[in-house]
Subunit: 209 residues, 6 copies
Amino acid sequence: MKMFYFLFLSSLLFSYCSAADFCVGDIKSALTPSGYPCKPAAKVTVDDFVFSGLGVAGNTTNIISAAVTPGFVEQFPGLNGLGISLARLDIASGGVIPMHTHPGANEVLVVLSGTICAGFVSSSANKVYLKTLTKGQSMIFPQGLLHFQLNAAKSSAVALVSFSDPEPGLQITDFAFFANDLPTDLVAKTTFLDAKTIKTLKSVLGGTN
Amino acid sequence: MKMFYFLFLSSLLFSYCSAADFCVGDIKSALTPSGYPCKPAAKVTVDDFVFSGLGVAGNTTNIISAAVTPGFVEQFPGLNGLGISLARLDIASGGVIPMHTHPGANEVLVVLSGTICAGFVSSSANKVYLKTLTKGQSMIFPQGLLHFQLNAAKSSAVALVSFSDPEPGLQITDFAFFANDLPTDLVAKTTFLDAKTIKTLKSVLGGTN
Amino acid sequence: MKMFYFLFLSSLLFSYCSAADFCVGDIKSALTPSGYPCKPAAKVTVDDFVFSGLGVAGNTTNIISAAVTPGFVEQFPGLNGLGISLARLDIASGGVIPMHTHPGANEVLVVLSGTICAGFVSSSANKVYLKTLTKGQSMIFPQGLLHFQLNAAKSSAVALVSFSDPEPGLQITDFAFFANDLPTDLVAKTTFLDAKTIKTLKSVLGGTN
Amino acid sequence: MKMFYFLFLSSLLFSYCSAADFCVGDIKSALTPSGYPCKPAAKVTVDDFVFSGLGVAGNTTNIISAAVTPGFVEQFPGLNGLGISLARLDIASGGVIPMHTHPGANEVLVVLSGTICAGFVSSSANKVYLKTLTKGQSMIFPQGLLHFQLNAAKSSAVALVSFSDPEPGLQITDFAFFANDLPTDLVAKTTFLDAKTIKTLKSVLGGTN
Amino acid sequence: MKMFYFLFLSSLLFSYCSAADFCVGDIKSALTPSGYPCKPAAKVTVDDFVFSGLGVAGNTTNIISAAVTPGFVEQFPGLNGLGISLARLDIASGGVIPMHTHPGANEVLVVLSGTICAGFVSSSANKVYLKTLTKGQSMIFPQGLLHFQLNAAKSSAVALVSFSDPEPGLQITDFAFFANDLPTDLVAKTTFLDAKTIKTLKSVLGGTN
Amino acid sequence: MKMFYFLFLSSLLFSYCSAADFCVGDIKSALTPSGYPCKPAAKVTVDDFVFSGLGVAGNTTNIISAAVTPGFVEQFPGLNGLGISLARLDIASGGVIPMHTHPGANEVLVVLSGTICAGFVSSSANKVYLKTLTKGQSMIFPQGLLHFQLNAAKSSAVALVSFSDPEPGLQITDFAFFANDLPTDLVAKTTFLDAKTIKTLKSVLGGTN
């Protein structure tokens, strides 16, 4: 009797419902500066917190011989508002993740297999931080700084990367310069590359103008 | 004449309307990671900034002989986005607010009447911080750390608690362990409690499995 | 052929769409504590990032001989979520931006032409920080502190101000005290001004009661 | 034996020391933008988390017939970095906390005894939000907005206020205008008050110039 | 000649040195609420951004048959101020990471090998989110919520976990309850466990009183 | 007499000293993740809040025919912790601020004189946002995204830029690629530029290897 009493009253006393534990993103709704609106708590299941996408090797049969598999908020809506996201890198022998930045997050990479040569360049002094990483080693790439990863070894490499934001963004310099309609003369003026080099890379990457 | 001129022009010059002063929560709308969307400013009245719920004693006629009366964003929508909330604790003689955490906020308690024995445990060293507090004394309980309050005195006690977030959350350890369908063997494996103890507490708290 | 291959695959590999680069405010939607919901990325054009309002001199033909032209999120929705906004000050000879605060942002002012005498008062010690600024000089006004700008020179002055938030707010003390229905006796009690002074300023600024 | 083993190993396995649970302020050290450096964890005791200052009534034998007793980070260093602080208001019959702002925090007031008439003014529309609060009622005063509390009843009143920052600041308008060396003509120009009124209040509040 | 000119001048024009790219923690200095003071930029090398600790399997020869290897700011000072950290979990067959919380961070786990049964409990509804995860699957554990991981399979399991803060903290409930000097009667009162159970677990975990 | 009384008591009642109004950076001390430690309040003068550096035209007699004059926290320590900074751009006819990013801040530019062609590239879709701006027009460049400014007109141009952080950083892509010791083959592999182009630009910009 007393037990029932406890149960009954405790549910009254501590019954204030709160959705603050998490905010699974309703990614069909309009984004806000803090992330997506939350899916109603009643509709959230454990599967909103589970993501299987990083278990599948990316297809590296391409000219960079590498693949990035994101686990950002759009792929993994449970990350919404949580200040973290993941991605998987597959880099075949000789492959490269070209020079890029993440405008919205810091990154930490862990090598799961193989060997990865990675580096970043500081903004103030243009100093290069370069390291060949083996299995189990981690490396930090601070937010917004140019960095790359490549596999100079004979076997393929896999890495897991974590970001300090659910939407880190990814800006690959070559794509930003050459894979759009930014006029060749503007690219030339602002990068000091010659028009011929620009036009060649534009044709490779699908850029125009 | 000049005065009218001032009035007329000043309303033009400084007329940019802004809703940034506050953001009373429209708690029927979908939550976002930063809180609820704001009620339209035109519909906001002083009553959105006033809450009377903490003036009423909680009912402590229950086996913990205590009650928590929240003034979180769901009860007091004017707190939305403001980084603060409140609650009232009523603890009868012999009563206890069992071991719990607030996953989303720091807490400061002020004893309004009576005597409260309170404590928290640090995460790294499992060190206990324990104090018997009398009327007018305040105590801090850092975010996410296990803590409790109990009344070992002969008269009842009342406290006001403030939190550093409009939705601090409340996770009572016993409820998390025993008041749901988490299988007894999983509870046993992960808490080192024996099955009999678990089943007894599950039956008290309404848990199954 | 290889080039086409690169193009084709790279678009697959790096195709995860993200709206995180920016969040142009959909200012017709309900505000949230972090700002307005984002306009769909597909509808964003360069004009969402461009604002022409600061190029037009404010009309200073009024009794304060000054004008504030805001470039806050409501006028310049591209600023939504970006932690910054702008405004233009025009102050004719003898003009003044009266004592005011920005409840939501720090401010930095740069004099573009003329001379401006500016000052702010600290909260703890009520210390005055006062400076006459000439063209090219900048001055900081910390968040929430009372400050003013006036033009004691013979020619008009223009300044550009930047804020650390898209919605800095603006509370002009005289307007808060005298341009509303706050009863004269409450103003008197809480400001130590006499009723006659209050009633005079209320009549100038359109206040009642 | 097995138990000893567990104890021994567990202390190894989970022994990473962390000071992140809290950061009791070493208030003799230089402040940083995020607060004071932390006192070494080994020197922290429960008394760093306990504050008795709010239990003592403020002395209201003064011409405002009111007193503010702060429990900010300088008085209560355990609050450092925790996003919260407290204060106690004592307002005798007829007393007033004059018009003021907190530049650094939102505020929530709870009336502990007596009756308090309180109000704030919005920044955009200069709209007044006014309420007479009785025991147990709470009211919000958003960050940076002008507000006041006064006691129009026959008995004295006590309130507890909570802030969303360990250092909310306090800028009393009258003190900012009249309790320093801001020249009378600058006060006149920027507040539209007449020189005589200014000089009278300067003399009351200890201002010069 | 022109090239030299460019080099010479560009170094002048863009020479403003900034340490804002990163803030490698000087972990011998006093912590602040935002992290450790930064190591001087001139002394930072690539090794400050590289950590090898996660490459070594933890020793699971203990009664929980599991080990946590942290890569938090104290082990990996390059993470200071970056909003992210890592850890490695090794769980032998039958092993368990007991019920615990991270007071300071959200967590995402990725299974690198083996099978892990993991779960967390929500704060409001005490709802259980439970999943058996296989290699390559990720699962989120929101900040401050009780969760566990165990290996019910025949082979050992390894997981990599990422946190949304350089110092996530770790509070193991059993350790908080039983591995310190919190008096048995207080544990009993606040957990509803019986004194015998408490004393048994205290003796296992090294607690006293 | 009463006045003296007020003065005397008010200084007691409201005497809690706070340094929270601002935190002028002591830039000789070690940086923290939240900025520099604060200069003691007693040593702060109005000159800590005033900066004259933006009033001086940069020297554009160089091959980019442009100059950036920063007003970041190192030049203007009063900005420490305030979430804002400034810079001045001088671009002679034909001059260019080459492709670059600010890893740590959003930017808003206002043209003060002349005409500036500016653009940025989004990260997800590599979409170009391009505009020719005239006097008084503002343009946003979101954090971390590649952008440029150039002057295609016959007369020189001046712009004022504001950032959402006291240390926005500046990474000029050409400098990051070519003005350091990053080996030519790594540049080639990660940018798809040919070795000859790289070596030419390295020689221009002072790079080696």
